[in-house]
């Protein structure tokens, strides 16, 4: 094991420990420190996991997919492709968490699982786009060809996101809004707990991204050690 790799693994472990500790603190904060919400009760605590998950997926994760896809197409460096793949996977996991916690909360707060509100609907469409991205990766053989195809879809998908949001927002404003924004007044403790959760989830994202990218790198290395296989001929 090279010293550089050792150093890297050491840093990753430290990052993992910090992220883990932050997650433990965030969980305790959400369940214990945060006050019970007056009208919604304990169900509101889901919010401390729902909102940070949404942030991680829609913010850093999918932006990474776009950024590193562009970087791959410009430089042709497969490392960028691996980061994009890792970010997409993590993004899909957190979008799934968002989509599961959202309806659970909504059912108790608004009486329905789902409303065709722009943010909700856009999140669902996003989930479909990035699951499609992962499917595309899973059916092609590793290498530059897969990286190119995935990068193009990653870029197109990301460009589509604001358009999806705009169209749904525009579509819903034509119809009467049945439910309001669903917002609630947050007291100072709640805001602090939410901030802690956001920070913890972001750290967790960075840790997972580093770890997953590293794994992708190792599996690419393993692939390269195997007898070579024609990139184009392989998946005909």
């Amino acid at each position: 094991m090279s010293s550089r790799l050792k150093e890297r693994l050491g840093l990753t472990t430290v990052l993992g420990a910090v992220a883990g500790a932050a997650m433990v603190f965030a969980t305790v904060a959400a369940f214990v420190l945060a006050p019970r919400e007056a009208t919604m009760g304990d169900v509101q605590r889901l919010f401390y996991f729902h909102m940070p998950s949404a942030w991680v997926a829609l913010g850093p994760a999918f932006t990474c997919v776009f950024g590193f896809s562009v970087a791959y197409l410009v430089t042709g460096n497969l490392r960028h492709d691996r980061v994009a793949a890792a970010a997409a996977e993590i993004g899909v996991v957190f979008t799934t968490i968002t989509l599961i916690t959202g309806p659970l909360w909504a059912k108790s707060a608004w009486g329905v699982f789902w409303t065709w509100e722009p943010r909700l609907t856009t999140t669902l469409i996003l989930w479909f786009i990035y699951v499609g991205y992962l499917l595309l990766r899973s059916v092609s053989l590793p290498g530059h060809k897969r990286a190119r195809l995935a990068a193009v879809y990653g870029i197109v998908g990301w460009i589509d996101v604001p358009i999806v949001f705009l169209s749904i927002w525009w579509w819903r404003t034509v119809h009467p809004r049945i439910l309001g924004g669903g917002g609630f007044a947050m007291d100072t403790t709640m805001v602090w707990v939410l901030m802690a959760c956001l920070a913890a989830f972001t750290l967790l994202f960075v840790y997972l991204l580093v770890l997953r990218t590293h794994m992708e790198g190792m599996s690419a290395r393993l692939e390269s050690l195997r007898p070579s296989r024609d990139e184009w001929g392989g998946d005909q």
């Binding site: 479909f128 786009i129 499917l135 595309l136 059916v139 190119r148 195809l149 193009v152 879809y153 169209s167």
Partner: protein, 225 residues
Amino acid sequence: MRAGLAHAWTITKKDLRSELRAASAVITMVLLGFLVVLVFSFSTEAGSKDSALARSGVLWAAFLFPGLLAVGRSFESEKEAQCLEGLLLCPVDRGAIYLGKLLGSLIFSFASGFLVLIFFTVLYDVGLGLKWLALLGVMFLVAAGLAAVGTLSAAITAGVRARGALLTVLVLPLLVPLLIGAARCSVVLLGPEPWNGLGLWPVFMAIYDVLFMAVGFVLFDYVVE
């Protein structure tokens, strides 16, 4: 520029000719669209004055099935006998190949949509007139967006296994904004709502089409590299 367009048109003509000679694919597409209209009409009581919303759903579902097939065909047929490699070896700009393929898909999906619309008009007793023509125009906008996004995605899936179903899964989420616009427009055009109900939706759809044609034009090069 002019040479590029001429090359694109040559590729389109080649696609049209080969598809029309082996007419079975085209006939299958149109029949599929008809069948969707027919099957849906059992649940929406065709003939009665259904809500414009329900009828819109039937129309766009019946348009999309053959449309997606048409888009898939554009590269599927090239996989036989390494035609795709041959096409890529041609001394023409890659953008011209994209445009040529796009135009072919657009013509096929719009033509099948046109036939589906006629069938739909008969079964659902849609009034003929300016609104009908406008509906045809909206259909053209959807076909253009489908061709733009679909051609790029079809090129992507041409390079991988299990491409048939994958193409649909990749294309449909991207088309959501266009389909929302189409549904809004057709609700107005099939129902009693006045024209100004259309709002800016047709403009929005046209912008979507142009944007994704530009994106596809730029990115196509990387897909087939």
